[in-house]
């Protein structure tokens, strides 16, 4: 599961949606692998407004990547900054969480990630 995907996912429990602690989910015992993907600047620029930057900074730090700048770049800045493009590409598109757990900061529910596929199905008492 790509780090990009982590930025799209929150806790599936309905009562957690209102809490800011439920996003982003926190990786636990994460086993990371890296895929070789061709850099696609157009994709990254298109993604930029959809990324929750604060959440991405949190995830990036939790996974042991260097600290991202406090403010997101503008699309123009991103297009002009080859290093930032490369770094974001590596983080968002190439880095995969293969095994581990994603933990909700609000209800502490743990979602298992197995072979890169996270399982967000909930037991009946949480539906």
């Amino acid at each position: 599961m790509k780090v990009l995907t982590l930025n799209f996912l929150t806790c599936a429990v309905k009562t957690c949606k209102a809490s800011s602690d439920s996003f982003p989910l926190h990786p636990k015992d994460a086993e990371l692998v890296s895929d070789d993907v061709e850099l696609n600047p157009q994709l990254l620029v298109n993604l930029l407004p959809r990324i929750d930057w604060n959440a991405l900074r949190t995830t990036s730090t939790e996974l042991g990547f260097p600290q991202l700048p406090e403010q997101p770049p503008t699309p123009e800045e991103l297009q002009a900054d080859e290093k930032l493009l490369k770094d974001l590409h590596t983080l968002l598109m190439e880095t995969q969480m293969n095994e581990g757990k994603l933990v909700c900061g609000h209800c502490s529910h743990e979602y298992a990630v197995r072979e890169g596929i996270a399982n967000f199905l909930l037991p009946s008492h949480l539906v």
Binding site: M1, K2, L4, T5, N7, F8, L9, T10, C11, A12, V13, K14, F23, D35, V37, E38, N40, Q42, L43, V45, N46, L47, P49, R50, D52, E110, Y111, A112, R114, E115, G116, I117, A118, N119, F120, L121, L122, P123, S124, H125, V127
Partner: protein, 460 residues
Amino acid sequence: MRDYLIRFSQSHETFRLPEIQALALIEGIDMKVISYSLDSPFCIVNLPSEAAARRLIQRSILAMSIHELWGSGADLSAVHAAVHESTTHLWPQYLSCSFKFTIDSYQGSRAADDKVRIINSFAYLGFAGPIVMRRPDEEFILFEDWEFNSTPLGIPDPKHYYFGRYLATGARDLPKKLDLKKRRYISTTSMDAELALVTANIALAAPGKIMYDPFVGTGSFPIACAQFGAVAFGSDIDGRSIRGDEKKRTLRGNFQQYGLLAGLGGMFTADLTNSPIRRAGLRYDGDGVKGRLFDGIVCDPPYGVREGLRVLGVRDPEKSPWVIPKGKEMYKDPDFIPPRKPYGFLAMLDDILHFSAQTLVDNGRLSFWMPTANDEQQEVPVPTHPYLEVVAVCTQVFNKWSRRLITYRRIPDAEVDQEAMKAREEMKPVGKTVDELNPFRKAYFNGFEPVGGTADDDAP
């Protein structure tokens, strides 16, 4: 601006125009449809340039080719007159190039000497270059549109002619590349390659775009989207369909087979009614992008016929009170499978619409497949949502039922009818058994008997 002729394939007729219109949108081409009919494979469009014509068709699945239209008419003399009138200035460009002249008869045929006679009637064009049958510099084609069944009926002439210079072919080879018969990993309900690609086109999948399929199965739609350069996400309530055999036959393996791994976003196990996808509540003053994740959503939700339509939850908590406490005890076990309950097909469609309204960027598209009975009385109406505008309804007809590809556009918040939204909040469908929840399934298993006929209304 001038007229171009599109030669469509005469199949999936209702999908052809929405597809080519979507492609014009993707390529940013100003296209006007001059003439089009479901009964004919010939369509005349007005386009800004030859380059635009080539771009328009390059990824079309249902258009076979595009031609610079030199003239058309109900008989040959009308064609000659039109060619004289509008293209004499073009003739000198083709005086010395190698060329080929062919006749393409739709629903009809000509004897060989007849063809030669017709081709020779164009001699005034004055082309003096060599005639080359393989890879000529230019190809000129006279299209004939014959009446259906014209040969046995002995009809002597076609009803219409089109004459033009060949420019480019569509992507008719792509369905072969993604053919299900050669795909390593498929399931009983995998969408066939041709219609999956058409769906991706109509949903505006393109380089740099983010697409999502909430009923991903073995990945037919994400693969089609990735083929057009998009990055596709997907989820399914049954994680086994994504994992496959965890070796060669997996969803990821399919992307690998086609060399499309760069277009594989994220795949996860989830239920649409309890989706982990981040989204904000609907509002009337959003900026069109912020907080929304997808450019397009494509899916073929389970109809509840070949596969059950289920969501998380317990069907009847009073009859089986032990299920919830047992789940509470067991859910941390890695092999625990959460209970599911039957869910309404219409409720599911409604959930898809609402989810799409929340997650699509402005002008992003939702394209989903839904079945309906052919009998008008039992037809399932096109679902609506105040934030979504119906763009196209395409139909694939089977014997007693059809499936439709319905496409919506996410309209900007400011254009939403707030009254309609309030009215919507007050209605919620209810029901418990599979049949109550799914009128299509009920009609299907009753053999689409007319309403009030022999159909058993109390079927469980």
